[in-house]
Symmetry: C2
């Protein structure tokens, strides 16, 4: 059992480095850790298995990385545990995605024991030298440490975990295997200082922002994913309600507030989004962007026409009003103080569109399934406590038209856009929220990358519903680079037969709306294990958003 | 069609950067390129598809990396083509393995167009900045370039490909997507200088080495994998035959010479190998190590007792005789000159063991399959032109006891030991050698990582034979860290049912020797597509080599 250095009496045995790390992970709310054992991490794995933390084995390390990422997005922090190089270098892409999209994942990796390294022998799993893996992850994480010095190991663990919590980015902890059981003499000094905002900069920024919003003719809140990461949803809603300002969200921020909220308009995606929302946002004379990433896909591949001279742009990294910047103003402080000050608007806000008021969906049982109508049908099924996970491609673009409810969460790699996120992420999300209904929507190309992680979902009897959209290839790329190229076609699998191979779960083959309706109902009512719905689509079928997006992107790609 | 700048008349249109790269890949003998398209590499992919190079799509990028690695080992050079970050960072582990084990893989990756990067926007797939991927692969490749300057792009391509050829290590070529079609004004100057050996150092080294071998009581040649990589097999055999010196090989070098050669003794693996070979090698007063990696697993986890004071150690990177070093002596020159000089031994060589003279295998049809007897049965099946690929774990250790014949090749990640190599490597090897019989031997844990690449093998109707050794988990690790740990158990798949999911191939469920015999015969006679033999093993079954190895390694792991 890991020691509890801050609560146990002083005469207790001080914790080992491994025990201290396990305790600190729990202090940060981590109850599960994804990964694969390997010889340089076996001692720590054995310790983990005997601790309260649940070690969840995956089929592949990169899948464990995606699972930890989704777990982190849902839970606040997640962890991943892998062996040296063959394990660690297999998660570069997952960790890079967590970095790009601000997901707080703690990557723990073993390494050769310090005593083994004497005379620099060529130990197995080594690439160039003992430092290679560390050097690689220095590029992909916000903080890292190698626990090779017992005197500072506890402080290093605290420092790195604090960075993970503060910046919502992945961090790297490497334990030489002969350090796991070492007990440093010093008691740990646990501290997690968060530097406060500069009070005078904060005062001035809040006053300027409030005055601008009050004076504006048509202010809009544009919410991004950081509102979710930093747990600022309630503040954002208070701000909107207090000032009666309509809300839009970016694609990456989809679901940060309930889309059924009366002030919610829908997603703002520049030229590829719904016209009435694009028009309203771009006609605003004061767009308040909170926690938003200014990325290409997020902003409709730069079809957005936002005049930055009219924006208030606040994130965890910067605060800009019009063309000037405030330093050392924390996003949370800024939002809280705005709410505390109170925003009193005297001018009436022009009426804003909403998109969540839809006509009920009318099933056409014999009709072939199309992606647009499939999403309409799924929309009927979503409720409080559903977590929707969209993979890259039209799985993502089409599902931006889903409606998230009060506690519906929407997870997608909408900026880094790494294919293969959804199925392992479903494992992570369902682990973090055992009572949630987790729905993963994934294209066939992405499923072939990581879909076999369904194995772990079967093994753990998690009631995840996976919808595989089979259009026979990389559909988005077909549109990006038109022409008769074979390289976008992929091999056909009978996805619905996977339960036979995996000894569990239920498969459905779906061609018509009626079949989809029945399969989705059956899957929703089955909590005995996962369901996989293999949906056959016409290779040329596409959502409205994808059609618009590829039209814009293909201009960029083809010109080059 | 790519231009041929060195053979076409001067008035022909000069090649574009993309065309030049494709031509140079062909000049280096590359006829196939593995990968997955993505938007930053689509223009180059389109060019590739219209070129004589065959673009082979895989299910996952890391599998494409393993396939390219195996292709490179068999063919002399291989290539991999992926998109930016989500593609590139997914092959870190495959490229790291190629680096560690000296496999010449050319990694080609797209990146955002230079014109898109103005004002540093957050383009999708980006991690930290535009340079992140380049910085990561600087740690994992022997040379790299970003083709962002047309004036030097051709020379950069030549320089990097020459480094790949010379060092037999992976290289990195990044093409911003708006550079693919750019036609530099300058004609390329193609040059590939290989610095010659220092003639006087070479003379002295050859004379000293020859004299030592001539005077020795019991010299031995210990051959490593570089003999294969640099194509020096014939020289090595000439040297042995001329001086009548017995030959041993390291695990990574298994199969560099035909194991049925009369002078071949077997693998030298220190304390874990066959005792008579260990005894003979360690009693030698002049071990001539040629192209050998001094790695832990290769040398039996440092159970080797070789007195370096008696060794001649020559690799592509260094030449050491006893305790002194020669600089600038190329391995090939050293070996060729030794053969030219002629080694005249007057003392009789003490009789050396051979291990290839075995009793014929007697099938016991109703007996449960064991790993040791399975290998004996496979041994009967191997012939000229078989390529055996062993994955990590007992698939590797047990198959070191197979006998490679004249042109039998043996591929394994025996140093870097990354699980999941075998199935994608089988795709690469069979592509490089369409007429070969490719046999992949893989444990269940490793199969779950990358085995679905069988999809591409089915799609291309390649007659690969895959043997899945199912012992219900990470068998080697169970032995490394004894105890009742659950983390080494994995979920059970019905591997033999995969052909149903993949729409092709034939599956066999094997429990007894009789079933294995019949399935292997049937698979061998079936060239219509892949066969997958799902072999049930007792979880505690292990080969002689693994039993010895884990006994030694567990001392190291448990102590720590």
């Amino acid at each position: 059992m890991p020691a509890k250095p801050n609560s146990e009496p002083a005469e207790a045995l001080p914790p080992s480095i491994g025990e201290y790390l396990i305790q600190r992970l729990q202090d940060h709310g981590i109850a599960d850790c994804f990964g694969i054992p390997g010889d340089y991490i076996l001692s720590f794995y054995a310790m983990l298995e005997q601790s309260p933390i649940n070690a969840i084995g995956c089929t592949r390390e990169d899948c464990a990385g995606f699972a930890a990422d989704a777990y982190a997005r849902v839970n606040g922090m997640g962890a991943l545990c892998v062996t040296y190089c063959v394990g660690g270098l297999s998660v570069c892409n997952s960790i890079a995605g967590a970095y790009a999209e601000k997901s707080p994942v703690v990557m723990i990796t073993g390494s050769p024991g310090l005593r083994e390294r004497i005379h620099n022998p060529l130990l197995h799993h080594m690439v160039r030298n003992f430092r290679t893996q560390y050097d690689v992850f220095e590029k992909l994480t916000v903080a890292g440490t190698e626990l090779d010095d017992p005197q500072i190991a506890f402080r290093e663990i605290d420092r790195v975990l604090a960075a993970c919590q503060r910046y919502k980015r992945p961090v790297y902890i490497e334990i030489p295997r002969d350090m796991v059981h070492v007990r440093p003499e010093a008691r740990p000094l646990y501290s997690n200082p968060i530097p406060p905002s500069d009070p005078r900069a904060l005062d001035e920024a809040v006053e300027e922002a409030a005055a601008r919003i009050e004076k504006a003719r048509q202010p809009v809140l544009l919410l991004g994913v950081e509102i979710h990461r930093f747990g600022l949803q309630d503040l954002a809603i208070k701000l909107a309600e207090q000032a009666k300002i309509p809300i839009a969200a970016t694609m990456l921020g989809k679901g940060v507030v309930a889309e059924t909220h009366p002030l919610y308009m829908g997603l703002y995606e520049g030229g590829i989004g719904r016209e009435e929302i694009t028009r309203y946002v771009e006609a605003s004379d004061c767009v308040v962007m909170l926690g938003t990433f200014m990325t290409d896909i997020n902003l409709g591949i730069y079809t957005a026409e936002l005049d930055i001279g009219d924006c208030i742009y606040a994130t965890s990294e910067q605060l800009r009003i019009r063309h000037h910047h405030y330093r050392d103003v924390r996003l949370e402080d800024f939002m809280r103080r705005l709410v505390e000050r109170g925003i009193k608007r005297t001018r009436p806000q022009p009426p804003a569109p909403t998109e969540w008021n839809r006509e009920p969906f009318q099933l056409e049982p014999p009709a072939a399934v199309t992606i647009t109508r499939l999403m309409r049908r799924i929309d009927e099924q979503l409720g409080d406590g559903t977590i929707v996970i969209a993979d890259v491609g039209d799985a993502l673009f089409a599902s931006t038209e889903l409606t998230t409810h009060n506690r519906t969460e929407f997870l997608a790699p909408a900026y880094y856009t790494s294919m293969g996120f959804a199925v392992p992420a479903a494992l992570g999300a369902q682990t973090a929220r055992p009572d949630a209904r987790v729905l993963a929507i994934v294209g066939d190309g992405a499923f072939q990358m990581t879909g076999m992680e369904l194995s772990t979902i079967v093994r753990r009897k998690l009631p995840v519903v996976v919808i595989v959209l089979n259009n026979g290839g990389y559909g988005t790329e077909r549109l990006l680079h038109p022409g008769e190229f074979k390289f976008n076609d992929i091999h056909s699998w009978q996805y619905d037969k996977l339960p036979t191979v995996l000894n569990g779960g239920t498969g459905y083959l779906v061609r018509t709306e009626g079949e989809f309706d029945a399969a989705l109902d059956a899957a929703w009512n089955d909590r005995s294990g996962p369901s996989i719905l293999h949906v056959i689509l016409d290779p040329s079928d596409k959502s409205r958003a994808l059609a618009k997006l590829t039209e814009m992107m293909s201009k960029t790609v083809v010109q080059q």
